[in-house]
Structures are given as C-alpha cells and as structure tokens.
Symmetry: C2
Subunit: 440 residues, 2 copies
C-alpha cells in the first residue's frame, strides 16, 4: 500500500468509529445532548490556559512562516474570543431541539400509521481554515443535532484545535456521548481522502475562501453546504427613494466588505442615474469605496474606471455600477451574473418590488433593505451552519435545520399491500392525525 | 466545432428557451397553471388517434428490432393506458398548489419582515426509458409546480413522445403557459449533454433501470432525484407473530417483485428460525419464490442454495435469507448492505420495534407492515415524483414537494445592518407573525 492508501485506510477506520458513535448519539434524549453541551463548555473553561498556550504557539509559528495579517487575526484566539465561543456553546444548548419533530402524522388506514420524523444526518465533515473557534461552534451544533463530526482544521491552527478537541473529548467522556463522535484531522492529505468518504460522511461543510469552497464542491460526491461566491446586487429602480437608496448602498457595500452578503454590483435605472449617481458616488467615496462603471455610468462619473467583468466578488471596498433601462434588464443581469445569494431592489413602487422578488432567482430577494441582513442569526435561527446558494433546500442562511434529515416511520398490525390493490381494493383513509406542513 | 459541440450549443439554446419560459410560468397564478393542465388533458384527448398511431409505429419498429417482452409491454400505449394517463393529468390539476406556501413569516424589527416562500425549482430534466405515458405525467407535475421541463425519452418511444409533446404544446399555446416550457429531446447524445447543463437545469429525474439511474448519478453535477437500488429487508424478530411474519413476507416479496420496495433479504432471529423458516418457506415456495440462504438457514432448509452476496436487488421471485443472533446484528446487517430505501421489523415487542425504527438508517422504517407501502400515492401525496434514497431531504417517496424550493423575501423601509451591530445595536424582535414550522 502507498502512504496515501494507508492514510485512507486509517481514515476509514476513524470514519467508522465516528459513525458508530453517532448512531448511539442519535438516540440520546434532548436532555442528554444538552447536558453533553454544557459539559463541553465546562471542559473548555477548564482547559482555557492550555488552549490559549497552544494558540500562542500556533501564532508564533505562523509569524515565523510569514502569515498574512488578516489570516493571523483569524488564527488568534485570545481569552475574550474563547470566552465568547464558550458562551456560544451554551447558547446552542438553549436552542430548540431540531430532531424528533413529527412533520407528517397520518393514518393510511385503521391501524396503519405513517409518521415523518426529523433525525440526525449521521456524520458531518467540517473543513475549515484558520479560525480555531470554528471547531468549538461546530462541535456544539453537531452534538445538539445528534450528529458525529469529523473536523479538519487548517495547518496553522493545528495546535489550537488539538487542545480544543482534547478538552471537548475529555468533557464528553463524562457524558452519555461517546467521545469518538468528535474527531480531528490535521493533514492536507486527509482533506482529499475525507472528500472521498461518501459512504461514511453525509454532509461536508467547508469554511474558508471562495476558491477553497469551490475546490471542495468540485471534488466530492458528498452533499456540500456552502457557497463559493457572494455576488450580491443592489438595484436602484426608477421609483427609488434616493435617501434610502444611498443609505442602503453605503451599508451594503461598506459595513463589512469582506462578507459574502456585501454588494459587488449596483444597477441603476437610467431615469434615476443623472441625479442619483453623483450623490451616491460622493457618499461611497467618503467611505473610501472605489467605483467602477460601465460606459454610461462613466459619462456621469467621468473619473472612475471600467470593471473587467460583472461576476467578480471583490470582497473589498470596490463597487461596480451599471445603468439599465428597465426593471427587466436589471433582473436579467442579476440572473445572469449573480451567485443566487442575496439581491435587493430599492423602490417605492410595490409592483416593481413584487416583480423583482418573484423573478430574481436567489436565496434572498430584498426590498428596501440592506443585503447585509442575510445571516442566520439575523433571521432568528439562533445559529448559522452556513449559507447555501444552491437551488434546492436548504437554501440561504441555514440554521440547525440544515443538519437534520427525516425518515418515514410506519407502524401496522400485519398490513399488506395486496389488500389495497386490484378489484376489491380497500381504500386508504389518508387522515392527518395532527397539524403538519402536509406534503405536495 | 465537432458534431457534439454543435449539438451541445443547440441544446444550450433549447435550455435557455425553457428557462425563459419557466420564468414566466413561475409567476402565473394557481388558476392559470390549473387551466393549463386542463387544456393539456383536452389536447391529449383530441390527439388520441395520432398518439396511438405513433405508438403502434414505435411498437412495430421495436418488434422488428427484437425488443424484449417486458420492455415491449412498457412501450405499449393503448387507449386504456392513455385514458388513465389523461385522468392522471386532471388529478394533478386537483392537487394543492405546492408553490407560494409561506413557511416562515417573521418580523425581525418594526417594518422589517422576513418570509420564506416556496417557489418552483426552475427547469427539470427528465430522462426516461420506454414508457411514453411517463411524459404525460411528468409534464402535468412540472406545470403544476411552475417548472419548465426538458424531457428525454428512450429511442423506442420517440414517435409516441413526439406525438404526445406536440399535443401538449398545442394545448399550452391556448393558455398562459409558453409552450417553450416543455421540450423533448430524442437522441442518446443529448442525454449526455443534458447532464452537463448544471447552469440551466436544476434537477434531474431519471426513470429507468438501476444501472441507468446509477449512470446518471455518476455523470452529472445537477442534483438527481431517484434511487439506483431498492435492497429492502424484512427482519423477523424473536418476538414476532409468526402469522403476521408469513403474510407480510409473502406480500413484500411476491406482490410485485420487480418493484423497488419489494424485499430482497429476510433476516430471521435464531430463536425464531427453527419454527418459522419451514412455514415461511412453504408459503413462499407456493408462490414460486426461489429461496437462498446462509449456512445456518440451509441447516433448516437443506434444499436451497447460498446467495452470492447480500446486496443484490433481484427484482424477481428470489429471496435471500440469513439467520441473525440479535436485533443489533439485524440492524448492523441492514445498515451495511441495505440501500436506505425501506426496511421492516416484525415483532410484538415495542422496545425492539422502537430500537429498529430509530437505528436503521433508511428513508422508510416499518413495523409489522409490508415494505410495499413505500409509495407516494399510498402515503397520500397525490403524486409520486420519485423515491429518493439519499440521506438529505427530500427522502423516500417524494410528491410535488420535491419539485419546489424556497426563497427568503425580505421587505424593509430603508433598514440597514449597521444599526443592529456595535455598542448601541438595536435588538431584533424576531416575532413570528403566523404559525410556521420554525427553523432550527
């Protein structure tokens, strides 16, 4: 066997252990899982000095390696950040239990009862880059939702994550949760092998740069919860309120330009452009935003350059501007160049708003508010597992709901299908036994 | 350009037309979509002679090509089958509208309102083999759910499907639905190209043999709704009622052996085997079922052979039998060799039943009833789009629900995120405005 084959084999063993531990975890009560989460919080508090020491070692090694400053800031886990992360663990404990929900409860015939019940997915594979406290958050979400979790951290954060996972496992050893439910991988080779384990891992959540997420999406058959791009748009309709438009443009671009829900492109209706563009340009340039515009925009704002394309996520204080002649053109532009993340219209015309909300194909479609609200906590989910830009659910900001699936449980008393087919077929009653979402 | 590149290019044009037509379809009212469905039914009735004539031509050509008998039966579309298919179209019209459901309706702050609303996926790609009436059913489901649809039929059914789609498009031309929303592809090359169109097609539904479905799953990045295998199990617990066990075993194996929800393997608790196996063998052999058993089974039933493996879907009157020493061993066998479709336990012990239902990882887990109930119509969904054996929702039999997604619509009045962060952050109200499933 090659070294890679050996690594793959041992990774399969780890995955099997995780799966087996997850199976026991899946049937624990809400109380048992919440107790485990509280115990994790205590264990992390007890290991505080060790974790911070490990993080200092990581940071020193990273500096010696010439780490980039933003990455260094993400790697750093001081007492304050650690305390916040532990508070976050306790908050997860307080969330409503996502498993065991009866979504459908239906009598098919006397004594033949169908239930659709939410249950854990099984094993989560979480691949993250520098931020060590991500391990803390994701483990608490996994235990809460009854899932095993295989963590793979970036090489910069190995010492920190090892200290964190050691504390978590020590905590779990005192609870009903088998510590094998939480595993940590640390080498790059293991990332590639993990992506192949579609028999053992049910969901991959990548946390890192766009190119990293795209790499994961393109190299696994396991479902991936995440998004590579956040190319969000703000469309200023001809019936826009200019003050709202300016305030929202500034917020959506400058409040946190590196966030995926910041805007990259502003589309402006031609009738609005001559009055609106000079004002918004001033407001944005006051916030150090570099503007880039198409030819018609540059006729109004002659000092700006042209964008190279309409699909770049700048993740920086740069905004591309295009003038459009109609709402329809704006919608078409967004559906062509957007990333289905979050797009907003500014208008006082309710018909324009409802057309935009109906026809823009994105996880989030907003009217007269900033795209920056696209966030699981802001939506009131209590946690955010990721933001998905895929077409199928789960879509948009995903809470704990994204970590569960469902199964159909049916109980009969000797019922067979033959009695319900043919000339003398018994009819089904299909009587809902409690309120559900229904199906179809 | 090579011929394949030319074909791909023209397929992209077709896909773009479908997408554009689907966008208009997505915003039609329930009434408009239902009217379109009724008009399709009328158009199919008017074209009845033409469709049946085309089908006769298909059948004659297939016979000349030496088509296998079961495939011939599937290809054949007589007046009776066509009438049933048209009745099916009208039934789809009567189903509840799956789009426009408000799943979440929440005030985030005064005047900032979030809604999660179901909406069409966009464009469906349906690849089916011989059965021409599949085209009729799937088009009505697509229109009902507001989706465009690109159909690809097997080469045997080309004339029939062309006649069907021609009638459907003639019908749609009299309605609010653009006939471009329904497209038919007929060549094998187009199947391969269709699977590459992840920018234009949102969901692939393959209908055909297991190997065909597996081929589709392995050759596309578009989500696939379907299942390659249906390796279903029946476990006869030590506390089983023998009469129920025999009745259910016979139904689950013989009622329709080619169905994916028929059982392939029966696991029998060792304590039950000596009394149960001779009786069930007699009942099954009376129905011409060929039994195959592991060594211990063959000690009790010496005249049967050994199965070659535990993961074959026989789709025939063949049943593999294995003796297990415990409920746990049965669960482990199912989780190892099953296809996560539907598995059942026969027992009078409620604890054994609940352990089985909790720990078997399958879309359907049944107690004291036949696996043959795993079906969208039997579940009361009114339609079945497919049965999924994946881990993530939608899972199991999928109704119209599987053809829709959701988007988050937010409406504000100039709301910006900056006001909800930092030292003087406004709190969110997170007040649910009507009953919803909640999230997370």
């Amino acid at each position: 066997m090659t070294a890679s084959q050996v690594a793959y084999k041992s990774l399969i063993t780890i995955a099997q252990q995780t799966r087996s531990a997850a199976l026991s975890l899946a049937v624990l009560s809400t109380k048992q899982r919440n107790q485990a989460i509280d115990t994790i919080a205590l264990a992390l508090e007890s290991a505080r000095d060790e974790i911070i020491k490990a993080n200092i070692a990581d940071c020193e090694a990273a500096v010696a390696d010439g780490i980039a400053k933003p990455l260094y800031k993400r790697l750093q886990l001081d007492e304050h950040k650690l305390r916040d992360a532990i508070t976050g663990v306790r908050d997860v404990g307080k969330l409503a239990d996502p498993i065991g929900h009866v979504q459908i409860h239906r009598e098919l015939d006397t004594g033949l009862i169908l239930k659709r019940v939410t249950c854990p997915l099984g094993v989560l594979g979480i691949i993250f880059e520098a931020r060590p406290e991500a391990a803390i958050q994701i483990v608490s979400l996994a235990i809460k939702s009854g899932n095993g979790v295989i963590l793979k951290c970036g090489k910069e954060a190995v010492r920190s994550c090892e200290a964190i996972v050691k504390a978590i496992k020590q905590g779990l050893a005192q609870t009903a949760v088998n510590p094998d439910a939480v595993q940590l991988l640390t080498t790059r080779e293991e990332t590639l092998e993990l992506l192949k384990l579609d028999k053992y891992v049910d969901l991959i959540i990548p946390r890192g740069s766009n190119s990293f997420v795209r790499f994961v999406q393109e190299n696994t058959r396991i479902p991936v919860l995440g998004h590579a791009d956040g190319v969000c748009h703000l469309y200023i309709d001809k019936a826009a309120d200019i003050d709202k438009a300016i305030t929202i443009a500034v917020d959506a671009k400058t409040h946190y330009p590196a966030a995926c829900n910041a805007i990259e492109t502003m589309l402006v209706h031609a009738e609005m452009a001559p009055t609106f563009l000079p004002k918004v340009a001033k407001a944005l340039e006051n916030m150090n935003v570099e503007l880039r515009g198409d030819e018609r925009t540059r006729e109004i704002l002659p000092n700006i350059t042209a964008p190279t394309d309409w699909q770049t996520e700048y993740s920086d204080l740069i905004l591309a501007i295009k003038i459009v002649d109609s709402l329809e053109e704006a919608i078409e532009h967004i559906n062509n160049y957007g990333s289905k993340h979050t797009d907003a219209i500014i208008t006082e015309d309710p018909n324009a708003a409802s057309t935009f909300l109906a026809l823009v194909n994105a996880a989030g479609v907003y009217h007269n508010c900033s795209t920056r609200f696209a966030d699981g906590f802001r939506y009131g989910f209590g946690a955010e597992v990721g933001i998905s830009t895929q077409q199928m659910p789960p879509r948009g900001p995903v809470g704990l709901e994204g970590l569960v699936t469902y199964k159909y449980q049916m109980t009969g008393n000797g019922h067979i299908a033959a009695n319900y087919t043919g000339a003398s077929a018994k009819p089904f009653t299909h009587r809902d036994l409690n309120k559900t979402l229904g199906n179809g």
